[in-house]
């Protein structure tokens, strides 16, 4: 079996007296879509922040793409191929959608300490950007300011930005949050199209989406992973039912 794209080894994180991540270990294999589920307050966002580099764990190591990235800051991990979306959508509101993705491409296309040539005229960046927009179905909004987009469009734009980074790992933090039924269906359809091409870690509450997309599911409760396995196996797991899913699932 090949080296996992992401390996978390005994990660610990406390805020004061509150232990949010407790001896957590996790593997994400290449090409898989790995969902992380768990009740509110289980520590999902803290875990995502530690994987992405926004927080540094108190103990444990994080290996990504064969490197120990535990001490590396977020921009460095991003350049190594770790792309993320945020629970509250973060785009550049005063830039157009195209500029948003073009900037993500720019980050991995050579130095940005260039002071003369117009960046907006760089065809290569724009081309890759438009492809990413197209994949997410927001190519029509390319010339609109990101701040003027609807919530759903912003969400798709953010995923397009992540794709434009040509990521080795796609970290999606609750992409369905706040999405209506139609939007959720559309997003699930789009994500299904991305499944084999990218390694995806998906944090989600929406169980239907999880079961439709995930190859494996890890259940996070009170900072620890209590089960990892296929969606079916997890659904039937007694501990998971007791802690999270309930017996109706």
């Amino acid at each position: 079996m090949s080296e996992p794209v992401l390996r978390l080894n005994a990660i610990e994180k406390s805020f004061g007296a509150l232990k949010v991540t407790d001896n957590l270990s996790l593997d994400v294999r290449e090409g898989e879509t790995h969902a992380i589920i768990g009740p509110n307050g289980a520590g999902k966002t803290t875990l995502i922040d530690q994987i992405a580099g926004a927080l540094v764990p108190d103990a444990g190591r994080i290996h990504f793409a064969g490197r120990d990235v535990t001490e590396l800051p977020m921009p460095v991990r991003a350049r190594l191929g770790l792309a993320r979306t945020f629970q509250i959508t973060h785009v550049l509101p005063r830039f157009t959608a195209l500029e948003n993705v073009a900037l993500a491409v720019q980050a991995r296309s050579g130095s940005s300490f260039r002071f003369w040539r117009s960046a907006a005229a760089e065809e290569a960046l724009n081309r890759v950007g438009m492809e990413a927009l197209g994949t997410l179905g927001v190519a029509a909004q390319a010339a609109m300011h990101a701040g003027a987009l609807s919530h759903g469009e912003k969400r798709r734009l953010e995923i397009a930005i992540a794709l434009a980074q040509a990521p080795k790992l796609l970290l999606l933090d609750e992409p369905m949050a706040g999405a209506g039924a139609d939007e959720t269906r559309g997003l699930v359809h789009t994500l299904k199209g991305l499944r084999r091409r990218y390694t995806i870690v998906l944090v989600e509450h929406d169980m239907q989406a999880v079961f439709a997309l995930a190859d494996r599911v890890s259940v996070l409760v009170e900072g620890r992973i209590i089960a990892t396995g296929t969606p079916e196996a997890v659904r039937k797991d007694a501990a998971v039912r007791a802690a999270y899913l309930g017996d109706a699932a």
Binding site: P73, P75, A83, L92, R94, A104, R108, A119, A120
Partner: protein, 415 residues
């Protein structure tokens, strides 16, 4: 080959390709280029001096806009670079080395160094902290300059002459100096414009728009911000070099924090968010200063409230107003409606407050009244009891007196 028609149409096509902002700025520059002609006609060399000052401060304002509008860094110590540039060139001049090949690079490099040193610490901070730390660093430069005893200290340093170009005093001729300043302004505007649209400029603007997003994209903000800070500082050093040359004098006052405040004012007055705005703001401020100073020596007492009004009501400065006018959002009727509406609103809120105060007072009175009455009743009852007690006492006293007198009389009669 030099058919005027072809040149004209090529120029027209090129002009059309420029955006409104660029055309406006080009227009401003052309206007400034024609100013000496007007000055000649009106016979006023003074006009030239005002124009020079406006252009020099326009350079400084554009460099500050790079920080405020593009990098999102509000520097309250930018005037320090004016002083550093002027002092570097001035000190060299006082030692007899005031040549262009030495003084100009010295001004720019010293400013860049100061920006690098102070920026490396300041740029680590955010928001309010950044404002205050730049303010403090500016004051630090000010104090260092005041203690430069061999170079005049508090009184400042008088230059022996303007910077020599190739050994000649060609800069002494005012028109030459004027066009040199104009050329510098044009160059700065051009470079700044390219910078904003470049990869670097785009990253800077992105970091200002949403830092988290840019970090997640792979951009580490510190390096970009620091570079912007150094570039802005060096450019302002150029402005300082020109400023010192213009008056052939430099003093610590160039770096005073009020100067930094004035620079911020120029940027906001003209309108942050464009490059022509700060240029316009510098020009407008010069005119404002000249005009107000003619009214009264205490012109700052008028400028102060003007600033407050500008902030409260003048969103986007002059450039913002121009934009709104272009979009058709700014009309005389609209302005009048806004003024009357706000007056009405102020009047209405005053009426509301008065009514509320009245209600509150009445309520308090209503609450207090029964208590007052009760208190008065108590007092009245008390005074009645006092009176009763007093009259009782009087009666008892009278009886007592009577008895004792009668008793005494009886005892006296029995004797």
């Amino acid at each position: 080959m030099f058919e005027p028609a072809r040149i004209a149409s090529a120029a027209a096509a090129h002009l059309e390709a420029l955006s409104f902002e660029e055309r406006f700025a080009a227009g401003l520059l052309v206007l400034m280029a024609l100013l000496p002609v007007a000055a000649l006609a009106l016979g006023g060399g003074y006009l030239l001096l005002i124009g020079e000052r406006a252009m020099i401060f326009a350079i400084a304002a554009v460099s500050l806009e790079l920080l405020i509008g593009v990098a999102g860094l509000i520097s309250f110590g930018h005037a320090a670079f004016l002083g550093i540039g002027a002092y570097a060139a001035g000190i060299l001049a006082s030692h007899g080395h005031g040549t262009l090949s030495l003084a100009l690079p010295a001004a720019i490099v010293t400013s860049a160094l100061f920006a690098l040193l102070t920026g490396s610490i300041a740029v680590r901070t955010r928001g309010v902290y950044f404002i205050m730390i730049t303010l403090a660093f500016g004051q630090m430069a000010f104090f260092v300059a005041t203690s430069l005893a061999p170079y005049g200290g508090d009184d400042g340093l008088t230059w022996p002459t303007r910077t020599l170009i190739l050994g000649t005093r060609v800069l002494k001729r005012e028109t030459v100096f004027y066009y040199v300043a104009l050329a510098c302004l044009g160059a700065v505007y051009l470079l700044a414009g390219r910078l904003v649209g470049s990869r670097f400029g785009r990253v800077l603007r992105g970091i200002t728009d949403n830092e988290r997003r840019m970090e997640a994209n792979g951009f580490a903000p510190y390096g970009y911000r620091l570079t912007a800070y150094v570039m802005a500082g060096a450019t302002c050093g150029l402005a300082g070099f020109l400023l010192g040359n213009q008056v052939e004098f430099v003093s610590p006052a160039y770096m005073h924090w009020q100067r930094s405040g004035e620079l911020i004012l120029m940027v906001l007055l003209g309108g942050s968010g464009t490059l022509y705005g700060p240029m316009l703001g510098a020009l407008a401020y010069q005119l404002l200063e000249e005009g107000l100073a003619r009214l009264t020596e205490h012109w700052k007492v008028i400028l102060g409230p003007l600033l407050v009004l500008l902030v409260l009501f003048g969103r986007g400065g002059i450039a913002g107003a121009i934009e709104r006018w272009r979009r058709g959002e700014l009309t005389v009727e609209g302005l009048w409606a806004a003024v009357t509406a706000s007056l009405r609103g102020a009047g209405a809120s005053m009426v509301r407050r008065w009514q509320r105060a009245e209600v509150a007072a009445r309520g308090a009175l209503a609450l207090a009244m029964p208590r007052c009455k009760a208190g008065w009743a108590t007092i009245a009852a008390g005074s009645r009891r006092c009176k009763a007690a007093l009259s009782e006492a009087r009666v008892s006293l009278a009886l007592l007196v009577d008895r004792s007198v009668t008793g005494a009389l009886t005892r006296w009669r029995r004797r």
